[in-house]
């Protein structure tokens, strides 16, 4: 495992840029760590290049890749567009996985997945493949952009209304669920608002209806009276809500804490002092890219407080294998397999999204992960023998040690017995079923 000191950081040094030195050298293990968190894993060449380039230059490339990302995404936007609205969203899941594998900007997809878990729209409730696609595109558009614009999009997104059973917001009967989820899950967090705020927020949504999967404003259903929300008074509309909610420090804290779990650690709740400086600047500029950048470049990110302190989600587990073995696989069966492991993309279990961490693991999902690894490595079956561990190992080194370095960067304890001529698939499978490989 990486040579990481157990030092306690004060907030300033925790978020200061990591500069490798003799005490904390930049190495293969930390390169692997960076690619697990800021991407979906890496090829051997990517890891080698990262080791040569150093951390900050590697992070430059992950944050702002030189490739034409917009052109790539336009192409996939077209490919994934459902033929008609009655289509199920299952094709969207498969296209999204394909995009995660092939994108020149994996961090963008990683953050799109983060926001998907945050807003937790369920395609089964949306029941419109096109509205679901528009939602996913909204998440991607602002995934590394402005949280203000993200939230403005979310409170006017048909998929969000449909997913929360709030498609008719009548003046006489304002629906409180949308308001409650908006405050409790999307922005302020539990306990940071009163029931009255929920009721008044619900009134501010009056007039919004989803008709034929499009959001429409019906003027005569608008409640034009004064509302009092979080200490402010006015004839608020849904547009005002975005401003009111992001003015609350609790909103920035919610997002920073959640992103901390996503990028740094799920095993320990961060100290409030650690969150405070990031929440303060994020509260001002709402710049997601800058927040992500601060976290990724930090001393804390490259410390023992972060290293292997997350559980891989099924997406991270499987795509780590696919990326390492340098090929794309058929993603419709992969989407199904991930659903069986508890991560049915576009169908989170509740509006709180996936809890993640140790909740991913029980003996059934663990056996399922082993079997998915075996299926991905097989030369036949649903994944069509796309991955060829022998060829990849042949290019870069001898198989057993190579797979340990590629997938675990030396974090597993090899036993003393020698088996140099192990079959490459078997060798890869043995590494991928080590408990250590489940940790991100």
């Amino acid at each position: 495992m990486a040579t990481l000191t157990k030092e306690q950081f004060d907030p300033a040094s925790a978020w200061a840029r990591y500069q490798p030195d003799a005490r904390r050298p930049w190495n293969l293990a930390l390169a692997g760590h960076l690619y697990r968190r800021a991407a979906f894993g890496a090829t051997w060449n990517q890891l080698q290049r990262a080791v040569a380039d150093g951390p900050q230059r590697t992070i430059d490339g992950l944050l702002r890749p030189s490739a034409d990302v917009a052109a790539f995404n336009r192409q996939y936007d077209e490919l994934e567009t459902p033929a008609n609205d009655e289509n199920s969203s299952n094709d969207l899941r498969a296209w999204w996985l394909q995009r995660m594998i092939r994108t020149p900007h994996p961090l963008l997809e990683k953050m799109t997945l983060f926001w998907h878990g945050h807003f937790a729209v369920n395609a089964a409730k949306v029941n419109s493949a096109r509205a679901t696609q528009r939602h996913l595109q909204l998440l991607r558009k602002h995934a590394l952009g402005s949280f203000r614009e993200m939230l403005a999009g979310i409170v006017h997104d048909a998929a969000v209304f449909l997913s929360l059973d709030a498609k008719a917001n009548r003046k006489a009967m304002p629906d409180e669920d949308l308001a409650r989820w908006l405050m409790e899950a999307f922005t302020l967090g539990p306990g940071r608002f009163a029931e009255r705020d929920v009721r008044e927020t619900a009134r501010a949504f009056s007039g919004w209806f989803v008709l034929q999967n499009e959001l429409r404003f019906i003027e005569r259903e608008r409640d034009a009276e004064t509302k009092r929300i979080l200490g402010q008074e006015g004839r608020f509309t849904s547009d005002d809500l975005v401003r009111i909610l992001i003015e609350q420090p609790a909103t920035a804290q919610t997002i920073v804490r959640k992103l901390y779990r996503w990028l740094i650690s799920e095993t320990a709740e961060p100290d409030a002092r650690l969150i405070a400086p990031l929440a303060e600047s994020f509260g001002k500029n709402l710049d997601v890219l800058q927040l992500v950048e601060t976290m990724l470049r930090s001393n804390l990110f490259f410390s023992a407080a972060a290293y292997r302190q997350r559980m891989k989600s099924p997406v991270e587990f499987s795509l780590g294998i696919v990326k390492g073995l340098e090929e794309a696989v058929s993603t419709p069966p992969l989407a199904e397999a991930l659903a069986r492991l508890g991560q049915n993309l576009l169908h989170p279990p509740t509006a709180k999204g996936w809890i993640g961490g140790q909740n991913w693991i029980n003996h059934a999902t663990l056996a399922g992960r082993h079997n998915l690894a075996a299926a991905l490595l097989k030369s036949d079956g649903p994944f069509g023998g796309k991955l060829n561990p022998a060829a990849v190992a042949g290019k870069h080194g001898s198989s057993a040690q190579f797979f340990l370095d590629l997938f675990l960067q030396g974090d597993a304890e090899p036993s003393g017995e020698s088996s140099t001529n192990a079959d490459a698939r078997r060798a890869a499978y043995a590494v991928l079923t080590l408990p250590e490989f489940q940790l991100a």
Binding site: M1, K352, A367, S398, P414, S415, A427, A430
Partner: protein, 405 residues
């Protein structure tokens, strides 16, 4: 990680001793996992969903009631051939298995089960039985999912609940915390050609998740053996050739393997608007479905009886609604309300629970309920699984007096 360990890895690798895939398991970890599984032999709940709205009147037949014969000129089952429970009621003629269980005191029929203002649409009716809270249609979890959440905590490898079947998992087992797997065969819980785990090293405090993962990995290994041996030991179980029977056989294997699974959920009728929805030409379809139900469940209980495992099992059925008393002119029936719920297992008192609902005092041509369905759920939760039903059902419901002390 310590410098010592890092240099150990380096030297080991440099010496050319590559990682090996020895078949031994770290003994300590396996023993820990086995100990965790060998706690008290827990009770098991099996729930069968009958999709489509089962016609309770042609399942538990009130043959002694003229109103039944008047309402069912073509669909009625005559007393002859039916399995009489008393002078008034009989099981459908093709429910031999249920009848034998009933005679042996292993089966209880809870009659007149339903709820106020029952939803007679398929999705709404089913959703209510799944959430167990008709007043909260937006509830995000099902009652079995919430029970599973109460039976589990993060870091435990145990799987509290499993859905067995080929259809998408019904909402009843939707959980907020725990991942409830869907399987068609016990083999899906076995990891294929499992190689050795890495050699165990003492974990540092910050690596407690790695410890949990090692325990879970060891448990997967021991489960592999338990499932294999349960499947070969009980291969002789005598089940009819129905899909439900195969699913119940899989459940019997998993109960025998003793993996700590407390809730099994399965289905008959095919999900969605299922096979029990017979608005026309009901007779043959319904006959076949209740036959499959009765014979599959009986085979399951008989199989478990061989090693007294039936005493650990409570099985219950439910459907989204019962059906109309009067047939509809197309030799079918329409959506109704109250229904009989079947409970079977080794610790039931047996017999009938509650009176058969009146066939003349009706609610829009459907039977009125007298027993709230949450009382059946509370029985399963409180009296069987040992959970606090109030926290699962979000309200207090009195369990039924159907279980032996």
């Amino acid at each position: 990680m310590t410098q010592t360990r890092r240099s150990f890895i380096k030297t080991t690798l440099k010496a050319g001793a590559f990682v090996s895939f020895a078949t031994h398991a770290p003994g300590l970890l396996v023993r820990t996992a086995a100990a965790a599984q060998q706690r008290e032999r827990d009770t098991v709940l099996v729930v069968i969903q009958l999709s489509g709205g089962n016609d309770g009147l042609n399942t538990v037949i009130p043959f002694g009631d003229d109103a039944y014969h008047r309402g069912r000129p073509t669909l009625r089952q005559m007393a002859r051939g039916a399995h009489k429970l008393d002078s008034h009621l009989a099981f459908h003629p093709r429910m031999e298995g249920f009848y034998r269980l009933y005679r042996d005191g292993l089966l209880t029929v809870a009659q007149g089960v339903g709820y106020a203002n029952a939803d007679r649409n398929h999705p709404g009716g089913m959703h209510n039985w799944h959430t167990a809270d008709p007043r909260s249609p937006k509830l995000q979890t099902g009652w079995l999912g919430r029970a599973a959440d109460f039976l589990w905590k993060p870091g435990e490898a145990n799987v509290p609940a499993v859905f067995v079947g080929a259809i998408p998992q019904p909402f009843a087992s939707n959980a907020a915390q725990v991942i409830v797997p869907s399987v068609r065969s016990p083999r899906e819980l076995i990891s294929q050609n499992f190689p050795s785990v890495g050699r165990g090293v003492p974990a540092e405090p910050s690596q407690s998740w790695l410890d949990s993962l090692r325990r879970a990995t060891a448990q997967v290994r021991s489960n592999n053996r338990r499932i294999e041996s349960a499947m070969s030991a009980s291969a002789r179980g005598d089940y009819p050739q129905f899909q439900l029977a195969e699913e119940l056989r899989a459940i019997a294997h998993l109960i025998r393997a003793d993996l700590g699974i407390r809730i099994f959920f399965t289905e008959l009728g095919g999900g969605n608007i299922g096979g029990f929805d017979n608005h026309a030409g009901q007779l043959g379809n319904h006959c076949s479905l209740v036959h499959q139900l009765s014979e599959s469940v009986a085979a399951f209980i008989r199989d478990l009886q061989r090693d007294k495992l039936h005493e650990r099992v409570l099985l219950m059925t439910f459907s989204e609604f019962g059906r109309s008393v009067r047939e509809n002119g197309r030799r079918g029936t329409d959506h109704g309300a109250a229904q009989p719920v079947f409970l079977t297992g080794g610790r039931l008192k047996g017999g009938l629970c509650g009176a058969h609902p009146s066939l003349t005092d009706l609610d829009k041509d459907a039977l009125k309920f007298h027993t709230d369905f949450r009382r059946v759920y509370a029985t399963a939760l409180d009296r069987w699984l040992g959970l606090d039903s109030r926290s699962v059902l979000n309200a207090p419901f009195e369990p039924l007096d159907v279980l032996k002390a």
